[in-house]
């Protein structure tokens, strides 16, 4: 294999680059959407479900992303989807950053209500961090933010400025 490059984003007290994950985009076809929901339990509201080491997060109408530390996720999902959905690898297209700062710090960048009363344990949202589009969900001790890889450095610097000051 060619050598893989990791983004040079050193961890700080409250912001870390998550280790590489498999990320796969799943989008239901209009004609097979019903069949897809019969075949798999996929959230239809902005939440995620967790099972067998794979997190399925709602990512828009009839769209999801699957996130896992397991390799070969795309192949497994392709088999499971069995032609009922468009499956696209996003393992290199997206970067995940973990934030363990108090919510008030993150609210400097994120314009939706992240309080537990509004953004519960399995919640996810497609929103912005400053000017960078990203998907956010709760994880242990904090939040994970997933953005396009090319924005990762900008997102990292924005988070460090917001959370470490």
């Amino acid at each position: 294999m060619l050598e893989a490059t990791t983004l040079n984003l050193p961890g700080t007290a409250h912001v870390q680059l998550a280790p590489p994950h498999s990320i796969v985009s799943i989008a239901a076809f209009k004609t097979t959407e019903v069949a897809l929901h019969q075949a798999a339990t996929l959230p239809v509201t902005p939440h995620y479900v967790l099972g067998n080491g794979v997190m399925f997060l709602w990512s828009g109408p009839a769209s999801w992303i699957a996130v896992s530390q397991a390799p070969d996720l795309e192949a497994r999902i392709l088999r499971a989807a069995n032609g009922l959905a468009a499956v696209t690898d996003q393992s290199d297209g997206r970067t995940i950053l973990r934030v363990t700062a108090p919510v008030a710090k993150l609210q400097k960048l994120v314009p939706i209500d992240l309080d537990e009363s509004a953004f519960g344990p399995n919640a996810t949202a497609l929103t912005l961090a400053g000017h960078i589009p990203m998907q956010i969900w709760r994880c242990k001790n904090g939040f994970e933010l997933c953005c396009f890889r090319s924005f990762a450095e900008s997102l990292y610097h924005a988070l460090v400025e917001a959370c470490e000051v």
């Binding site: 294999m1 060619l2 050598e3 893989a4 490059t5 990791t6 040079n8 590489p20 985009s25 989008a27 239901a28 076809f29 209009k30 004609t31 097979t32 959905a85 468009a86 499956v87 696209t88 690898d89 996003q90 393992s91 290199d92 297209g93 997206r94 008030a104 609210q107 400097k108 994120v110 314009p111 939706i112 209500d113 309080d115 509004a118 400053g130 000017h131 960078i132 396009f148 890889r149 090319s150 924005f151 450095e153 900008s154 997102l155 610097h157 924005a158 400025e161 917001a162 000051v165």
Partner: protein
């Protein structure tokens, strides 16, 4: 002067400050205004137009007069209201709008020209002679205009922004606000209490934001607020202010009320103040504005000042009550204080030079009495602070009982309590909008120098509608938004026109309630952080080779790779030569890549592209042209078919997001039944162009067997998946440069390694990295339209691409593209340009005209879109759009560039300068 006892200031903490270079002292808890008054400083500014001496009018953020420049150097802030500046050690403030000094202001001569400077004077003056405007009048007016001066240096302060959510936002921490916040907290839920003043005690279970002005109401229960974190401290490293976007389910407005001045002659002299302000200075700051005052009122509320003055040992020479019989409350207070009461009387005018020295009272019997005094407290009643209620276009409503506007229609979720709702205000008020026959200028809007006679003038000239009154006189248009002026002004217009106040109406209040620093609105998004930056997978690799980068939208792309001593032109020319002679690599990751899957993918492509797609075999790519609905070209790219129902579309870098949105729109709105999905894979795949006669030889060393990269097995426009050193990859045989070329894609984490591997494999062939400049030169040499030609105003016909319109199917833009005007050959159409004098150069943007006609717009026949120095040919070449272009090959035309002093002759040629037969592509 400072009173020896009382007040909420901390007399143990002495603070040193300067005003206009002179040193003074105050106490912690003072504002700059209270400290100046304590030091006997009454003159703090010069008015806008007439440069009249001005003093402190109020004790709050409604202050129109006491505007100072705070701090120095890059921190200097103009138009700061001294009444809200919290005093700190080492504070430096300067007065504004005077030269050479506050006491001796040269421009006070403007006062002599008062008749000239009446309202609207600039509509009638500075017109003759016309030639004087640019060199004399305009610069003069610019110098005279404005009050404070901006620092004109980058703002060194740091600002923050944040969003907060709550169930109840309470605006104003006075009695009504605190009570409302406490009640909301007891009911549970998140409560925020914001107040523009410094902190008093906190509140339980409430997020208390002191020094925070809620400046605006916006849609969706969203409120803007500015928190002053460090304005009251010497300059330091932390954030100075924080801008809040507060999203609240409910808002309780407890913003209180603002007192109205009375309008009488010379009511703007320093020492003439609002009665409520005098009371606040005496009781809260232990400061007296003078030793001997007069109180002028038309309501009972102002009577509360009388015992306060008595207790502080300040003499009140008289109470002047405009109400015919005064009132029991005022009578009793006057008796208690042993002060003379003049009922049914008015102050006709005040006297003084740089401060008030006395007043002339007209009694109910018509007598004139002159009284000496060194301060005047005036009250025409209170206006509920309804501003926030009207930010979403609600109109306040006139309450005749209290002669004031109260909130009318409220923004959704808002309720109003306390004085802001008109509760407990203006007891027994009898409106007095101005004292007639004042005998001297009587001011309505202090900050913009608008007098009662200006309002009469406006009426005379026909500007009676309240919106016209505002703009003609500039009443209410200063930085204080006319907080102490608007109601007096429109009530005077109502009187002048014989209408009622409700019939006259009000103008709109718009955010911000008080000025907000632009730095706060920007927060962290300044300088390089104004927008995010997107980096390609080979960014660091290219930087390591000394690449110079260019911003393309949010992306940074390697522009050229200079070797020592090379400028951009030398580097670019070397790169182009290296590609055409051997092989080069260029990162093309930024071009949009859209993964398209589904049984109806082909049908969808047929509808969005002008040409045919259903017949594209698996394993092939094709150039696609995409139009807007109106028939103009939107974007182009190549789309490859990787499997039966699987395509990858490419777009230009600039239009990647726009095309994605377009596809989603078409699917969701136009053809929702189609089974097709889109996914952006621009970031997923690092993509590198490998171009030049040795491109195949280079790649052959890297592709894993059994992949066959020969010309027969992988011809022009082929596409396939394969592996490179075991890494999954995609290979496309596409060419933007016109050379034998490929684009190779690997998952982004391997991008840098791929670039490195290509350089090693191609080293024996002289492989050279090339950037966007060389990319641009080569596509211009080949006559490929790019961004400069796909400018949103060109059609397929203009670009010579009309042959790509399929006749067998409908597609977006087909109908409107066939409009006669869009296929008229007289439209500027794509051609190439070659200068007659080959040593010359020309620039994109130059216009194309026939020879021997005047260079005027009427003869304009087109313009130059792209220009490059062609190292392949050895001279500058260009592409352009010329009327009837293709029919004029060989003609000599004029390339005219008056802005950059260019004027040359050029031959119209085919846009394809290099390898017109395209033999290299198919090598």
């Amino acid at each position: 002067m400072r009173l020896s006892t009382g007040g909420a200031i901390d007399r143990t903490k002495i603070l040193n400050f300067t005003f206009d270079g002179k040193a003074y002292q105050g106490f912690a808890g003072d504002t700059l205004a209270s400290a100046l008054l304590a030091n006997g400083v009454k003159l703090v500014g010069r008015s806008f137009k007439y440069h009249r001496p001005r003093g402190i009018l109020s004790a709050g953020s409604e202050e129109p007069n006491a505007l100072v420049e705070l701090r120095t150097g890059a921190y200097r802030e103009p138009n700061t209201r001294a009444t809200v500046v919290e005093l700190y050690e080492g504070l430096v403030a300067q007065s504004q709008n005077r030269f050479p000094s506050l006491k001796y202001d040269v421009l006070s001569v403007n006062g002599l020209l008062a008749p000239v400077f009446a309202a609207g004077f600039y509509y009638k003056t500075f017109m003759w002679p016309a030639s004087f405007w640019e060199k004399l009048y305009e610069p003069m007016i610019r110098r005279a205009a404005g009050l404070g001066r901006n620092a004109r240096l980058p703002d060194p302060d740091v600002y923050e922004k944040s969003t907060a959510f709550c169930d109840v936002l309470v605006v104003g921490a006075g009695a009504a606000g605190r009570a409302a916040a406490a009640q909301a907290a007891r009911a549970g839920g998140r409560v925020i209490l914001a107040d523009e003043n410094p902190p008093v005690s906190g509140a339980e279970n409430v997020v208390y934001l002191p020094r925070t002005t809620v400046f605006g109401v916006y849609d969706g229960g969203t409120y803007g607020a500015a928190e002053r974190l460090a304005d009251h401290l010497p300059a330091g490293p932390g954030p100075r202010q924080r801008l809040w976007r507060i999203v609240a389910k409910r808002c309780i407005l407890a913003s209180g009320a603002i007192e109205r001045p009375l309008v009488f002659g010379n009511n703007d002299l320093p020492g003439i103040m609002l009665a409520g302000a005098v009371e606040k200075y005496v009781s809260h700051y232990a400061v007296s504005p003078g030793r001997n005052g007069v109180l002028f009122l038309n309501n009972d509320d102002a009577a509360s000042l009388i015992p306060v003055l008595t207790e502080a040992g300040i003499n009140l020479a008289a109470v002047v009550d405009s109400r015919p019989k005064s009132s029991p409350a005022v009578r009793d207070a006057a008796v208690e204080a042993s002060t003379a009461l003049f009922a049914g009387s008015f102050i006709a005018q005040a006297f003084g030079g740089l401060a008030v020295t006395g007043v002339e009272i007209t009694t109910s019997r018509g007598q004139t009495i002159k009284l000496e005094c060194d301060f005047v407290a005036m009250s025409a009643g209170w206006n509920p602070a309804v501003h926030l209620t009207s930010h979403l276009d609600g109109k306040p409503v006139w309450d005749e009982n209290i002669a004031a506007f109260v909130p009318g229609t409220l923004p959704p979720g808002m309720e109003v309590v306390g004085a802001a709702a008109g509760t407990g205000l203006n007891a027994n008020i009898v409106p007095l909008w101005s004292v007639k026959n004042a005998g001297a200028k009587a001011f309505v809007d202090f900050q913009n120098d608008v007098t009662a006679s200006d309002i009469t003038l406006a009426k005379q000239e026909g500007f009676v509608a309240v919106e016209h009154l505002k703009r003609y006189t500039t009443l209410g248009m200063a930085t204080d938004q006319g907080k102490t002026a608007n109601v007096n002004g429109l009530a005077l217009m109502a009187e002048a026109t014989g209408k009622t106040v409700p019939e006259t109406g009000t103008t709109r209040f718009r955010p911000p309630y008080t000025p907000v620093a632009i730095g706060a609105l920007a927060g962290p998004h300044r300088g390089k952080n104004f927008r995010p930056t997107r980096r390609t997978p080979t960014h660091d690799w290219a930087a390591g080779l000394g690449a110079v980068f260019v911003e393309t939208g949010l992306w940074l792309r390697a522009q050229y790779f200079p070797q020592s001593g090379e400028d951009w032109l030398a580097a670019t020319s070397r790169e182009v030569n290296a590609v055409r002679a051997g092989v080069g690599i260029c990162d093309v990751t930024t071009l949009g890549k859209i993964d398209i899957q589904g049984p109806d993918a082909a049908a969808f492509l047929e509808s969005v592209y002008t040409n045919s797609w259903a017949n594209l075999p698996v394993g092939k790519a094709r150039y696609g042209l995409m139009l807007r609905e109106d028939g103009f070209v939107m974007d182009d790219g190549t789309t490859a078919r990787l499997a039966e129902d699987h395509y990858v579309m490419t777009t230009t870098t600039a239009n990647a997001a726009k095309v994605f949105q377009h596809l989603e729109f078409c699917h969701q709105w136009l053809w929702p039944a189609l089974a097709v999905c889109f996914c952006s894979v621009t970031d997923q795949w690092a993509q590198i162009a490998v171009a030049g006669p040795r491109a195949r030889d280079t790649l052959a060393k890297l592709v894993d067997p059994p992949f066959d990269i020969s010309n027969a097995a992988f011809p022009y426009m082929a596409a396939a998946g394969l592996t490179i050193s075991g890494t999954p990859a995609r290979l496309f045989r596409l060419s933007f440069s016109g050379e034998l070329a490929y684009e190779i894609a690997v998952p982004a984490r391997y991008g840098a390694a791929l670039a490195q591997a290509l350089m090693e494999a191609g080293a024996e062939f002289g492989i050279t990295p090339y950037g966007t400049e060389a990319l641009g030169v080569m596509r211009i040499e080949k006559g490929h339209p790019a961004g400069a030609e796909l400018n949103g105003q060109t059609t397929a016909h203009d670009l010579g691409l009309a042959k790509l319109f399929s006749r067998k199917k409908d597609f977006i833009g087909r109908a409107l593209a066939s409009r006669e005007a869009l296929t008229d050959p007289a439209r500027p159409t794509l051609i190439g340009l070659k200068l007659v004098n080959q040593g010359d150069r020309f620039r994109a943007g130059a216009h194309l005209l026939p020879q021997n006609v005047p260079a005027v717009a009427a003869h304009d026949q087109g313009f130059v879109t792209s220009v490059a120095f062609s190292p392949t040919l050895g001279y500058w070449i260009g592409l352009g759009l010329l009327q009837n272009g293709p029919a004029r090959l060989g003609e000599i035309i004029r390339v005219y560039d008056p802005i950059r002093n260019g004027d040359a002759l050029a031959e119209v040629v085919s846009p394809v300068f290099v390898d017109p037969e395209g033999t290299r592509l198919h090598a």
